[in-house]
């Protein structure tokens, strides 16, 4: 009898112990999620508070209105010594960089994704492509920068100069870091992002779509471009937006291939092709880096830094949000509505 009672008590206590332990361990792992969310929102609040304090409340220049201050921050001439004014050229530079990058990455990424899902069978060649994609995604961005400097800037740029701008040599036109090379380098960095997103979207489409199109007598390319691609368009956009978001925040390759602290003019032109491909440009992330490393922080510098950081975070956050919601929408729509 006695031994029976001990056994029962032991079993009970062991099961109780396990339940408590389970609660505690799951609580611990769940609180890790809370911690990450807290850190994220904490950093965001920190940036918002510092930037807002400087923009709207800062005691430094109370006589100045908020609109004046905003005007200074964005549209005044960039201040070379210590920043604090003139973010506009950097914003324009970031946007033009991202636009030119999309120009390169969109056709290449989409074509590769189409090839992998619609054209190729599972051969050694597609395996090679897939391995290359996963490895490209893992290569550090700075290595792309090194490649861009060696191959695009000094290699291709040098050739272009020798062929078309021989008159201006030895001062280089394209053989020096610039917008075009930066955009090409970033396009390579983000190629895997686009390919993976578009492949995911194409894979999610039902095969009925393709079979129906082929059965109606469409050729392969008509099937792909008229039936499959319109249905996969959201995934294409989601991939491109993700790439854009990443490109806006990626600074390390730009240190090598084109961003500068101060560029006297915007990389835009009034005649075709409207973008000065060979020009160096200003970039939000680079401004932040520069403020951090080289500029001696003047009074109000902290708010200025927070301002740039906040704009970058908001830009990337909004782009990410759009991409993610597009993606969840696509993945939810696994099957098409039955037409009957």
């Amino acid at each position: 009898m006695g031994s029976n009672a001990t056994i029962r008590r032991r079993r009970l206590s062991s099961s109780r112990y396990e339940r408590i332990r389970s609660l505690a361990m799951i609580g611990l792992s769940a609180s890790m999620v809370s911690t990450v969310l807290l850190i994220g929102s904490g950093l965001f609040v920190l940036l918002v508070a510092s930037a807002g304090d400087w923009l709207f409340l800062s005691s430094g220049r109370l006589d100045e209105g908020v609109l004046d201050r905003l005007n200074d921050v964005f549209f005044a001439k960039p201040n070379l010594e210590n920043g604090l004014t003139g973010l506009f050229p950097a914003i324009v530079g970031t946007f033009s960089l991202v636009m030119v990058m999309t120009l390169f990455v969109a056709p290449l990424g989409v074509a590769t994704a189409i090839y992998l899902t619609e054209y190729a069978r599972d051969t050694w060649y597609t395996k090679l492509i897939r391995i290359s994609i996963t490895n490209l995604a893992g290569v550090p961005a700075i290595i792309y920068g090194v490649f861009g400097l060696g191959f695009f800037v000094y290699g291709l740029g040098g050739q272009v100069d020798a062929l078309f701008y021989a008159k201006r040599l030895p001062s280089p036109t394209f053989g020096t870091p610039g917008l075009l090379w930066a955009a090409l380098t970033l396009a390579l960095v983000n190629l895997p992002v686009v390919i993976v997103a578009v492949t995911e979207g194409l894979d999610a489409l039902p095969n009925d779509l393709r079979e129906a199109s082929i059965a109606l007598g469409a050729t392969k390319s008509e099937t792909v471009f008229n039936a499959v691609m319109p249905a996969a368009l959201p995934s294409v956009f989601s991939g491109l937006i993700l790439a854009t978001a990443r490109a806006a925040g990626e600074v390390s390759p730009l240190l090598l291939v084109g961003a500068v602290k101060f560029s006297p003019s915007l990389p835009l032109a009034s005649r075709a092709p409207f973008i000065e491909f060979e020009q160096k440009f200003m970039h939000l992330g680079f401004q932040l880096f520069d403020a951090a490393l080289f500029a001696r922080l003047p009074p109000g510098g902290l708010g200025w830094v927070a301002c740039i950081a906040l704009i970058l975070v908001l830009l990337i956050g909004v782009l990410n949000l759009i991409a993610v919601s597009l993606r969840t929408a696509i993945l939810k729509r696994k099957t098409f509505e039955n037409p009957f």
Binding site: S22, I26, S31, V33, I129, N135
Partner: protein, 578 residues
């Protein structure tokens, strides 16, 4: 039918175009490797010596007049000025250090007195002395205080095959050019004893002089000078100089040094990649230390314990951390964490120490009070319900850490650490590790969560039905299957951390010191690439070494990612079989 034909032609050509475009990916990867190899290869080239008729104009700066006069005092008295001391030697007599002002004379017993020729080497930091047929290379070390006698130390001894009639020290490198009695011009590289460069000429040679770092002028008895071009990379064709410790001229012992742009213009650049690789690995490992518990904890919870619908919401929420680009994280670390690093660290220690205890306790207290906030049958929104608790725990932990630090002797953590003899630099590895850890958390989380989620739910459900608690079913059923995937996630995170650039540039201090202390700064490969490559001339050894380092970093991440990918593929196969 022509219409159909056109449609088919269009289809085929579009298909072709797509096939060609798909090659870009392979081109990018291969091109990167090939291009870096091509640029980096010349650094490993052996030195060359060839006879030329006329010097290349503008290739090198000629050696300044005064310096060649200094190096010119063959067979008579030699002197080298080191902190007020001058070295004097005449063949047959002992060497002397003579002080400038006091005229104190001291014997230099280390240097042989029975020498025939002596020459200064490598911008006055070394001395090549010829004794019979033996060439000896000595280093001077800079005296620490003004009255110390500079130390002289023999570094290398090279036995020559034949008699030597003339000797000239290279103005920049530890290299001598010499002429033998057999009318041979020879270059001896003390950095790389394997170098064997010799050219036979047909006239007797009186003297040789370095006209510039790459040009030797040999004066013959007939008066006609002969010119020789000497080409050497800054590592003298010896790849081991990139990896092994080297006793550089003017340094007391063998050291790993990364000084590609020495302050003295004529000094030898020092390319040891070891401190940079060390810094990269140190930063990445510290980052993992902070990131692994955080990201794996999240992955376990999201991958195993929440419903599919909730998972679709939580994953993007954690991925939102990627909206902070690394340059922003670096700026936050630089402007908000670094200035109050001591307080931050003491609060963090408090939080880390108390977090498991308090959070676990908190769950019990909540349950014990009968509040059914957290229940095994409603695991979905624990993070939100636990939010106030976590806030409380963090606040308590931080307070405890700060007040604990205030009670330390010295009044703060920094003062205490300083009093124990540690030195804390403003930019230190720990700060880098913390911020870098935050940057790689979404990466590790996403991959580890996928691995955990890939384990079929019915297995965990089976364990639950047999009476195990949710945690038991995770630990005994899910985790063994997901563990390889979690390890792969950590490897990918390591690769990401090793290649990260902006945080390291902004927070590491970029000091190339090798020190295991987490309170010292570091310099990483990636930061070196970003900072030095734009300034390095296109044909310099520095540029080539940087590309070689890029290749090294590429190789490191490539191997780590490939292994992780193989692990993930195998796990996927195994899980699919269940």
């Amino acid at each position: 039918m022509p219409v159909t034909n056109w449609r088919h032609v269009k289809s085929v050509s579009l298909g072709l175009l797509i096939r060609v475009a798909s090659f870009t990916v392979i081109f990018a990867l291969l091109g990167m490797v090939v291009q870096m190899m091509v640029v980096a290869a010349p650094i490993f080239a052996a030195s060359t010596l060839e006879r030329i008729d006329a010097p290349d104009e503008g290739r090198d700066t000629p050696v300044s007049r005064t310096e060649s006069r200094d190096a010119d005092l063959t067979r008579r008295t030699y002197w080298v000025s080191k902190g007020g001391w001058q070295l004097k030697g005449t063949p047959g007599n002992p060497w002397l250090w003579v002080h400038d002002q006091t005229a104190v004379r001291l014997n230099v017993s280390e240097l042989p007195s029975d020498f025939s020729i002596a020459q200064l080497v490598g911008h006055q930091r070394g001395l090549a002395v010829l004794v019979g047929n033996t060439l000896e290379h000595f280093h001077f070390s800079q005296p620490i205080s003004i009255n110390d006698v500079p130390a002289v130390e023999r570094v290398k001894t090279v036995v020559m095959g034949s008699d030597i009639v003339a000797l000239a020290g290279h103005p920049r490198l530890a290299v001598v050019a010499l002429a033998t009695s057999l009318s041979e011009i020879q270059v001896v590289d003390f950095r790389n004893p394997d170098t064997n460069l010799r050219i036979q000429v047909d006239v007797a040679i009186d003297r040789i002089v370095w006209e510039s770092p790459s040009l030797i002028r040999a004066l013959t008895s007939s008066g006609d000078p002969l010119l020789f071009a000497f080409r050497a990379t800054d590592i003298g064709g010896d790849w081991r100089r990139l990896l092994s410790p080297i006793q550089y001229e003017g340094y007391p012992s063998e050291e790993y040094l990364w000084l590609p742009l020495p302050s003295a213009q004529a000094a030898e650049p020092k390319f040891s990649v070891v401190p940079l690789v060390f810094g990269t690995l140190k930063a990445a490992l510290l980052a993992l230390l902070f990131s692994a518990p955080l990201s794996l904890g999240c992955a376990i919870y999201v991958g195993c314990f929440v419903s599919e619908a909730q998972r679709q919401r939580v994953r993007p929420a954690i991925d939102m951390l990627t909206a902070f680009p690394t340059v922003v994280l670096g700026a936050i670390g630089l402007f908000w964490l670094a200035p109050r690093f001591g307080e931050f660290l003491s609060a963090l220690i408090g939080i880390i120490a108390l977090f498991p205890i308090l959070a676990g306790l908190g769950v019990f207290v909540v349950r014990g009070l009968g509040w059914r906030w957290v229940r095994h049958d409603a695991l979905d929104d624990w993070p939100l319900r636990l939010l106030p608790l976590v806030l409380l725990v963090i606040a308590l932990g931080a307070t405890a850490g700060l007040s604990g630090a205030a009670r330390l002797p010295g009044g703060s953590l920094e003062a205490y650490l300083l009093s124990t003899g540690l030195s804390i630099s403003y930019f230190n590895s720990l700060l880098v590790g913390i911020v870098l850890g935050l940057a790689i958390t979404p990466t590790i989380f996403s991959i580890a969560e996928e691995a955990i989620h890939a384990v079929p739910r019915n297995m965990a459900a089976g364990a639950l039905a047999l009476g195990s608690t949710p945690w038991q079913s995770y630990r005994d059923v899910v985790q063994p299957l997901a563990l390889p995937g979690m390890i792969a996630a950590i490897m990918v995170g390591f690769g990401r951390a090793a290649g990260e650039t902006m945080i390291l540039i902004m927070l590491s201090g970029n000091t190339g010191i090798m020190d295991l202390s987490i309170f010292e700064g570091l310099r990483s490969v990636s930061a070196s690439l970003a900072l030095e490559l734009p300034e390095a001339p296109k044909t310099s050894s520095h540029y080539q070494v940087l590309f070689a380092m890029g290749l090294l970093l590429f190789g490191l991440t490539f191997i780590v990612n490939t292994v992780a990918e193989i692990i993930r593929a195998r796990v996927r196969m195994r899980v699919r079989g269940l």
